[in-house]
């Protein structure tokens, strides 16, 4: 107990320096936790918005369509979706048929490419959550030539509720087709990809105009927990969907592979940034420990002369460094958690600072960014804060112990 007690006394002895060093660590860790919570929040919200508004938990498609899905080939649609939907519902999985095709929205000032999603107005709500995102006008009704536009797309096209809208496209047979629609509603959902370039219309209306004859390009599924999608899909492929050999089921991760790759890259970059914050704090601590040890060289010589072994002295200094690390880490984690809690609770609304419609940051998040809790990172930060302090103290202690006792005693 003597060595820890001595280390503790040394901490309180240089109170100002202890506080300054611990503050540097606390600042570094608090920043780390805050930033990580923010990134985690963006990631969690992004995933949630992807699944709720873009991909569903999984999607059933024909194998041919999946092979060329970026081209959106109507010719490879699911010819008879109802037995598939019935089988899926029998397995307790909500399923919604959709048809996806590309078009060109034509307005007086010009035209703009759009992604058209034809939805079954009733069944779509079992998988997706668009009704509550309608900010103007109303939700789609079956059989009508209506269009529901993303808010930013409506803004870009200069359209409002009640305005006519023409969309040019090609039918399943490849013939040019003009869809004369009326804007019945405008939605503003938390997924910017939807807001930016998507137009919704009723599935039955599209079926007739696009010569689909009951075929749909996809059946979207909703699972209780989207994170188990791969596991559920494996079960579906082996069971319920085994009777439909031309079909395949892909998870939201497969559908959002591009986004996930970009997200992983961004995360890597962010981690490098966080690492830099950590390194800067560690360098500060290292410098302080260096000064701490060098200004106590004479005392170190006295302790050695009185019979303290190198390992005892090393232990005292490392305990001291660990003590500073612990104080700083606990304070940093505390501050970081308070800041993160505020970010989880209220978030920050960036809409006042930037036009989100002009800014694509890749993440499927709205202007109000919320943080999320990341307990492993908090634990790692706490442990790493202490360990980093101990590690950076090793070198100056070793250097000081290399000095002869007589040199230490002469040190001024």
């Amino acid at each position: 107990m003597f060595l820890p007690a001595m280390a503790w006394k040394n901490l309180s002895r240089y109170r100002k320096r202890t506080i300054i060093t611990a503050s540097a660590i606390a600042f570094g860790l608090a920043t780390y936790i805050f930033m990580d919570g923010w990134l985690k929040g963006a990631e969690v919200e992004s995933e949630r918005n992807l699944v709720l508004y873009e991909t569903g938990s999984s999607r059933v498609l024909t194998r041919d369509y999946w092979a060329e899905h970026e081209r959106m080939p109507l010719a490879s649609a699911i010819e008879d979706p109802e037995p598939v939907i019935a089988a899926l519902r029998g397995a307790g999985i909500p399923a919604a048929p959709r048809t996806l095709f590309a078009g060109e929205a034509v307005v007086e000032e010009g035209s703009m490419p759009v992604r058209v999603i034809a939805i079954d107005t009733e069944r779509d709500e079992q998988v997706f959550s668009f009704r509550e995102t309608v900010t103007e006008g109303r939700y789609l009704e079956a059989g009508e030539p209506g269009a529901l536009l993303g808010a930013w797309l409506a803004q870009d096209l200069g359209l409002a509720v009640g305005d006519p809208l023409t969309v040019t496209t090609r039918t399943r047979s490849g013939f040019h087709q003009t869809l004369d629609l009326e804007v019945v509603g405008i939605l503003n959902c938390p997924n910017p990809a939807i807001n930016k370039g998507t137009l919704f219309m009723p599935l039955d209306t599209a079926d007739a105009l696009m010569e689909m004859e009951g075929a749909v390009t996809e059946i979207d599924l909703k699972y209780r927990d989207y994170r188990t999608a791969e596991k559920v899909n494996a079960g579906l492929a082996a069971g319920t969907l085994a009777a439909f050999p031309s079909l395949t089921v892909v998870s939201w991760k497969d559908l959002a592979a591009d986004y996930l790759a970009i997200s992983a890259t961004k995360k890597g970059g962010s981690n490098v940034m966080l690492l830099l914050v950590f390194i800067i704090a560690a360098v500060g601590v290292s410098n302080t420990m260096l000064m701490t040890i060098y200004e106590r060289i004479r005392e170190l010589g006295m302790m050695r002369a009185l019979g303290m072994r190198d390992r005892d002295i090393r232990r005292v200094f490392l305990l001291e460094a660990g003590g500073i690390g612990l104080i700083g880490s606990v304070a940093g984690v505390g501050l970081g958690c308070i800041a993160n809690w505020a970010m989880v609770r209220w978030g920050i609304d960036f809409s006042a600072f930037m036009d989100m419609s002009e800014m694509d940051i890749g993440y499927r998040i709205s202007a109000v960014m919320h943080a999320a809790w990341n307990p492993p990172v908090i634990v790692v930060a706490l442990v790493a804060g202490v360990l980093a302090c101990v590690v950076v103290a090793v070198f100056p202690v070793r250097r000081a112990l290399r000095l002869q006792i007589t040199d230490c005693l002469r040190h001024t």
């Binding site: 002369a305 019979g307 005892d312 007589t406």
Partner: protein, 234 residues
């Protein structure tokens, strides 16, 4: 019981050589010095600056190693010990009094003294009793809880003497113990050390160029240019 009652306070220095390299030049601090110190000696090593007195004291104190020659303390050959063994030897057998006191500023007088005992793994109760007793013996009763900053130079050196003696070492080594004290205080410290020497038969070895310390010593060893110039017993 004093640790100096069974011959552990004897020192044998045999033909010790010590050189220091300073840049490109070599300083011959000790040129084959031999000296025998008996149990209970009150020995002062004197000489001008650069004569080798501090070097000899450091070698006897096991905080420096000779280039050649042998040093034996209480029958133990210390010149061939490794660092850890030397640390343990110093811990158990040697006490130090430094010119600049070298007290730990944030520890009280009692804590500075008990520091030496804590290293020996002695129980808290015994540490408290021995600390209180030695501080009373050096005239600091009632000042146990004062920090060094609230003690005069003489009082600080008394704490240093108490720290050196509390573990009942066989030898106390004092490097210029009066150099930072006024003459009255220096005399008081020397009287204290001599009374300790007489009471406990602890061997005291000083290095000094202070005439008063030389006058107090019962044996005066004069060094000149790294060699013994004279060895006078009083």
């Amino acid at each position: 019981m004093s640790g100096s009652e069974n011959g552990r306070g004897t020192v044998s220095v045999e033909n010790v050589v010590k050189t220091y390299a300073t840049g490109e030049s070599v300083v011959h601090a000790l040129r084959g010095v031999s000296v025998q110190v008996a149990q209970g000696d009150f020995l002062s090593i004197a000489g001008p600056s650069g004569s080798g007195k501090t070097t000899l004291l450091n070698l006897v104190g096991c905080i420096d190693a000779p280039d050649s020659g042998e040093i034996t303390i209480g029958g133990t050959r210390v010149s061939s010990m490794n660092r850890d063994a030397l640390a343990m030897f110093r811990r158990r057998n040697l006490g130090f009094v430094f010119q600049t006191f070298n007290l730990i500023p944030v520890l009280t007088a009692a804590e500075n003294v008990s520091f030496a005992l804590s290293l020996l793994g002695i129980g808290d109760r015994e540490i408290r009793e021995r600390t209180r007793a030695i501080l009373a013996e050096v005239g600091l009763a009632g000042m146990e809880n004062r920090l060094p900053s609230r003690l005069s130079g003489g009082q600080q050196q008394r704490v240093a003497v108490a720290r050196a003696l509390v573990k009942e070492p066989s030898i106390v080594l004092a490097d210029e113990p009066t150099a930072n004290l006024d003459s009255d205080t220096g005399r008081a410290i020397l009287e204290l050390m001599r009374s300790m020497n007489e009471r406990h038969r602890t061997t005291f070895v000083f290095s000094t160029h202070d005439q008063m310390v030389m006058d107090f010593a019962r044996r005066l060893l004069r060094l000149h240019d790294g060699a013994i110039a004279s060895d006078e017993r009083r």
